[in-house]
Homo-oligomer: 273 residues x 2
């Protein structure tokens, strides 16, 4: 089955999306997906990989890679995506902690989401969103936003003592210039040495810091990012294979096609259909 | 009785204050008080001038003059002050309307606050604040902030059709440079002509626009602003009469003393005690 990409056309005036999704049996999310938006998914019904219980919770931090997702039974999900920087504007306390929470790969503390007090808070969030979904008021959109801010702020408070203290916010801040440079597409493919330079770090320091923070080498991260972007441009026929190959920094269309097939499972020419 | 000044030492990291005040019999607020913070007062018990009912509501917009307040019986109040610009950061919808609401002198639509649907919303706000006051949670301060944002956003929605359409947000924007210049104290006393110049308006256009917007001439507004600032510096012995006269643009200490007594009812030398 063809992988589906979630797209988040978010901006300062629309800094979030809340969607109730129903996935059919056999649904497959793409292998690699990463973006500036933070998103979280709450399981409401059915199952998804290892998740079976109502209110199972999955969070992807900003620029975090989230692997392939598969649903054998089908599933109903509440999916929320938002721009972390806009959320931080709405927050007046614990800005540093919340920023750390939104930028530090969530895979490291996923076990915390199973705690009963966290599950109770997730449940309250879902109920509030369901309520707001039904209400026909002119400022529901603002209310949903405040609920998201409140929810994230509560999560950070609840998880405070469980969050890893190995990495500090400054660790992410050190790596951020490389991610911003990569996202700008000014210089793709982006070599480790150019990325390290953008962060004012030595190549070897950058390499190790990145691997420790994201769990994979920068070169893999960089390639997944480009494949992911190319897939997005191919879907819906926005670009042809040659255009996508050029925009996303692949040497030529055939090199692009080989790499794409290797990682995405299907050739790019078929991805569009 | 000596007038009491409310002070709002607000900043981006502490953009609001919520206080339950109990005023004694015969309490008098100063004649003139204006500042960048928006504040609102909810009567919970007792009476205050024309207010007698629980949940009577009084709002002062940014830089709005609010006259002398007197309580014959004593009163319990919930007082909330906040920085409008920080509030606007936490808002994603209707920014323009909310900005207008916070900057347009509230005296013009005070009657709207008597509407039953507004009173019900005020009551819900008070109950939420009382609840949060009792709760001992680490992020209560954040929660109170979100309640204030939600409350203001709801007020604007509820009052939408009753707000004056005579003035637009652009009217305030035209006058704002004069208020900012005045607040900077770079050039006090600030003449009408210098104020008009800061706004790129002719003196006569500025004069009429200001009077229509704030209800008093700029020259009176400017004087009240300086007297108010001087009173604040005198209280608690922060400055002596001579220093305050000089900082707030009065020709000399005796001119300052005469003017102060005329408007504040007591000479500045007694104000400090």
């Amino acid at each position: 089955m063809k992988p589906i990409l979630f797209k988040w056309p978010l901006s300062a005036s629309l800094p979030y999306q809340v969607e109730f999704y129903t996935l059919e049996k056999g649904f497959v999310e793409p292998n690699y997906d990463m973006h500036a938006a933070v998103h979280f998914v709450i399981l409401l019904q059915g199952s998804l990989e290892k998740w079976k219980n109502k209110y199972d919770f999955f969070l992807s931090s900003a620029w975090e890679i989230h692997g392939k997702t598969y649903s054998r039974t089908g599933a109903t999900l509440l999916v929320v995506a938002f721009l972390p920087d806009v959320l931080l504007n709405s927050v007046i306390c614990d800005k540093e902690k919340i920023s750390f929470f939104l930028h530090n790969p969530a895979v490291k503390y996923r076990a915390c989401f199973l705690r009963p007090e966290v599950r109770a808070r997730i449940r309250a969030f879902v109920e509030k969103m369901e309520f707001l979904e039904k209400e026909m008021r002119p400022n529901t959109s603002q209310k949903k936003w405040l609920e998201i801010v409140d929810f994230i702020s509560d999560l950070v408070t609840l998880l405070d003592s469980y969050l890893p203290n190995k990495f500090s916010r400054s660790e992410y801040a050190k790596l951020e210039p490389a991610l911003v440079k990569l996202a700008s597409l000014e210089n793709v493919p982006l070599s480790v040495s150019a990325a390290a330079k953008a962060c004012f770090l030595s190549e070897s320091h950058f390499y190790h810091l990145f691997k420790e923070f994201y769990g994979i080498p920068f070169s893999s991260y960089e390639l997944y990012f480009r494949l992911n972007g190319a897939a997005s441009d191919l879907s819906g026929g926005k670009m042809n294979v040659k255009q996508a190959a050029s925009k996303w920094g692949f040497f030529d269309a055939s090199h692009f096609s080989r790499t794409f097939k290797k990682f995405m499972g299907i050739p790019p020419v078929k991805y569009d259909r």
